[in-house]
Symmetry: C2
DNA sequence: AAGGTACTTAACTTGACAGCTAACTAACCA
DNA sequence: TGGTTAGTTAGCTGTCAAGTTAAGTACCTT
């Protein structure tokens, strides 16, 4: 299923660039052609083309062909993969405190009159 | 509030490296010293030290000092920043289809008997 | 005070990546 | 057929990041 060996590496690398994040954000609102995507930036078209290649390689976008246009499409599944990794670790982190709370409650219950002894 | 100019860039860059992601995952389970973090890797200690610096610079970890140990602590808020960016764009992406659905329902409602005409 | 433990800093090599211009391909248009 | 539009590929440059070893700092132990 993986398009390249370390997809998660590639996905986070892709998202690390502000131009690419802006492109992803633009595509979240709807498909767009290369020139449309390039318009907001003061960057050469080949530069944008390279960024799109990076996004495509990690599966964040897919491209089709209509006449001389190559509309880009955001693949939310790829976004979900990165989302999943962060959420998972966020969850594990949060669990520590739940366990600590439970532990403290347990202590309190097994020695409820400690303060008065 | 930002620790460095483009924190989000730095955070995604930090998460792009598999060694650093493994360190983050380890720290999600609880604080650890540098040597504890280094143990699972076949990498020199200075290498690990550099990775920790990257994680610290973007705010993903904080470090204190106890005797000669420097325990590392995961800062979930930094994780939340990256999480927030992806979630937001994921949400915008999903909304398109909600709107499309609504639009299609609207069309169907304004011309409910088209098929029978 | 001497030695060990836990790191960090310095200095270097290597490789990847962002950006550019110039040149190419592919489809449409007149 | 010749030009225009849309985009990619090639080739270059400068910067930055990952890894290394060797040396330094800081604290504890005896």
């Amino acid at each position: 299923m993986a398009m390249i060996p370390d997809r998660l590496d590639a996905t986070f690398t892709a998202l690390a660039d502000p131009t690419r994040r802006a492109i992803v954000a633009r595509l979240a609102a709807g498909d767009a052609t290369v020139n449309e995507l390039a318009a907001p930036f003061s960057m050469s078209l080949p530069g944008i083309s390279k960024h799109l290649k990076v996004l495509e390689r990690c599966g964040l976008i897919s491209r089709t062909r209509h006449a001389q246009f190559r509309p880009c499409h955001l693949r939310a599944e790829a976004l979900d993969e990165a989302l999943g990794w962060i959420e998972e670790n966020r969850r594990i982190w949060a669990e520590r405190f739940d366990k600590l709370d439970a532990h403290l409650r347990g202590l309190q219950q097994s020695a409820p009159d400690r303060r008065r002894s």
